[in-house]
Symmetry: C2
DNA sequence: TTGAAAGCGCTAACAA
DNA sequence: TTGTTAGCGCTTTCAA
């Protein structure tokens, strides 16, 4: 039934060694004749090598493990494409797991992947297992963080500059005449992305002559389903708010819903800049000004970094790649209809 | 460095067999003492078994291969979640590949996955490799089709009833007073989903007393970037069109863009029902009536079907599971503002 | 230029 | 109740 290297060897009348060598190309001095015989036998038997046995022997599987925590957000789809394409180009396969932000799942998957002898791991950390990450780092296991950074842990990371992203967004709003800019965000103690976007917001406010007293933070519970109401409540309580920096594309939808419900015209009464460019942003009413994150590139870079690490044996210093966010101006921020008065 | 079963055996002063048996739980009659010793050694050495070696011996990897063709569409994210969760629950891991609708890629990945000894494959077929699918089916390799069906090939499939989905959508539009209903779709000869949605459209038209002459088909090139213009052109050419059945969520965005550009009020002048429920559908203007496909369930069912197949040795008849689409009524179809005149 | 043989880490007959 | 032994399919010294 199953055809092995031994079958090929027998048919080609050579040894298994010879077959192996020829198939793996590390055989400078094989005779034309032998090569031909082997290749022909391979062809005739439709042989293809068992990657398990190969991996067991060579201690290399050419598989990369991937632990993500949120497939729902389309941002991650883009990242996944970058990961996928780059793996293909470099000859790796991808084993994918979803921690769902659960630290126990994350730990389990990390262990599973290692048991499966993946050559390295790309991790979107829940950030709730610092000890675990440290242990992995110490063991010099090839892995890289993606999207979120943990400054205390010596691990290569590929992230987007979220401080800058927040800054660009808020600075843009202020530049076009807004003063009462609120930031709309999830409550989350762990994660760098949101802390950084908030920091960017604060920096932009301060850089434009405002003080801490001008900060307006609207905090949402990530998994509540009354988010629109929560936003409406805040908007009613602070009617002076004339702009919102939304830190996430789902929040943006809720903000638009809230504004519509309250009869606030956008961008006139309420301007909006949102994190995460999406396919639908430009079709909303009004079309939404967004901060685009280079997701594909992030995936690409993560794989490249990891593969470098794998091939080099993992003795270098961890690297941190920080990618640039980009502002995409549409109608919602008010810039398009802005006139110097 | 690397700790193997032999190390554990030595430390626990038993044989490798005993360790293996205890760790795999198929050992009813081990003495308390032995179990304790083994478990302790495992603990102390922080041993965890090499899945490669295990798989090589047992010819079971507990890995399922997945070949998708379009990660971009959020529908697939939902499917992926269903696949992922179910794999986890059943003790499988997922190796994921993206054919990008390219038949050569598809063939390569199918081969790669088999070389890696995955226990089975879930395939979203490009439908361009019928011979290949047939060969796999004949070899009784455990695999299942997802989302698209190929009636001529004897393979288990998990799909959504797209004829019904098309019918529901169009019937709903007609029921609320529309007569000149156009279908907006990609030109594609291969794929069942689109053929089926078109068939549903036709069925609904005919069932409501219309004839073939009433069919209005707007065909788009899938990868063109002037789709909105193409739609506008058709809409101008046939101003009698009072409703559109959009067969895909990207097309829907283009239709809304086109209507806005032409100053057509929705739903008054142009009603719309769209395939694929999305997070953003209800935030568009007007909120879009959609056909929801049970993506999560599709993923779930596909894995269950495949695992059944794997465990049973694959001797039964292929099964076809057909999932039910569901209409989600919002403002764009005009039903909410409809009055019997 | 090629082959024999050992062994990667594990499991499963068969023995004891 | 436990151990011995023989591989799973491949690669890789080492020898010829």
């Amino acid at each position: 039934m199953k055809v092995t290297i031994a079958d090929v060897a027998k048919r080609a009348q050579v040894s298994k060694t010879t077959v192996s060598r020829i198939l793996n190309g590390n055989y400078a001095h094989a005779s034309e004749e032998t090569i031909r015989k082997v290749l022909q036998a391979v062809e005739e038997l439709n042989y293809s090598p068992n990657a398990l046995a190969k991996g067991l022997k060579s201690m290399r599987t050419h598989v990369i493990g991937l632990v993500l925590s949120n497939l729902k957000n389309p941002f991650w789809t883009t990242v996944l494409e970058g990961l996928e394409d780059t793996c293909r180009d470099l000859g790796y396969h991808l084993m994918i797991c979803n921690s769902n932000e659960d630290p126990d799942m994350e730990e389990k998957y990390l262990k599973d992947l290692r048991d499966r002898q993946v050559d390295g791991i790309i991790l979107h950390p829940t950030c709730k297992n610092p000890k675990l990450y440290e242990r992995l780092a110490e063991q010099r296991y090839p892995f890289v963080f993606i999207n979120r950074r943990m400054p205390d842990i010596r691990v290569s990371s590929v992230v987007v500059d979220n401080i800058k992203g927040g800054f660009i967004a808020v600075n843009h709003l202020i530049r076009y005449g807004r003063r009462k800019v609120a930031i709309c965000m999830y409550r989350n103690e762990f994660v760098s992305t949101w802390k950084d976007r908030l920091e960017g917001y604060k920096k932009a406010m301060l850089a434009n002559g405002m003080t801490e007293d001008d900060f307006i933070m609207i905090e949402l519970e990530q998994h509540a389903d009354n988010q629109q109401e929560a936003i409406m409540r805040q908007l009613k309580k602070r009617p002076e708010i004339d702009a919102i920096f939304s830190t996430n594309n789902m929040i943006t939808l809720e903000v638009i819903g809230a504004a519509r419900e309250l009869g606030l015209s956008m961008p006139e009464q309420l301007a909006l800049v949102s994190y995460d460019e999406t396919v639908w942003a430009k079709y909303l009413d009004p079309p939404v000004t967004t901060i685009r994150q280079p997701g594909y590139k992030m995936g690409q870079t993560a794989v490249q970094t990891l593969v470098d690490r794998i091939l080099s044996g993992g003795d270098e210093e961890p690297t941190v790649v920080m990618l640039e966010p980009e502002l995409i101006v549409r109608a919602s921020c008010g810039a398009m209809s802005f006139h110097i008065s």
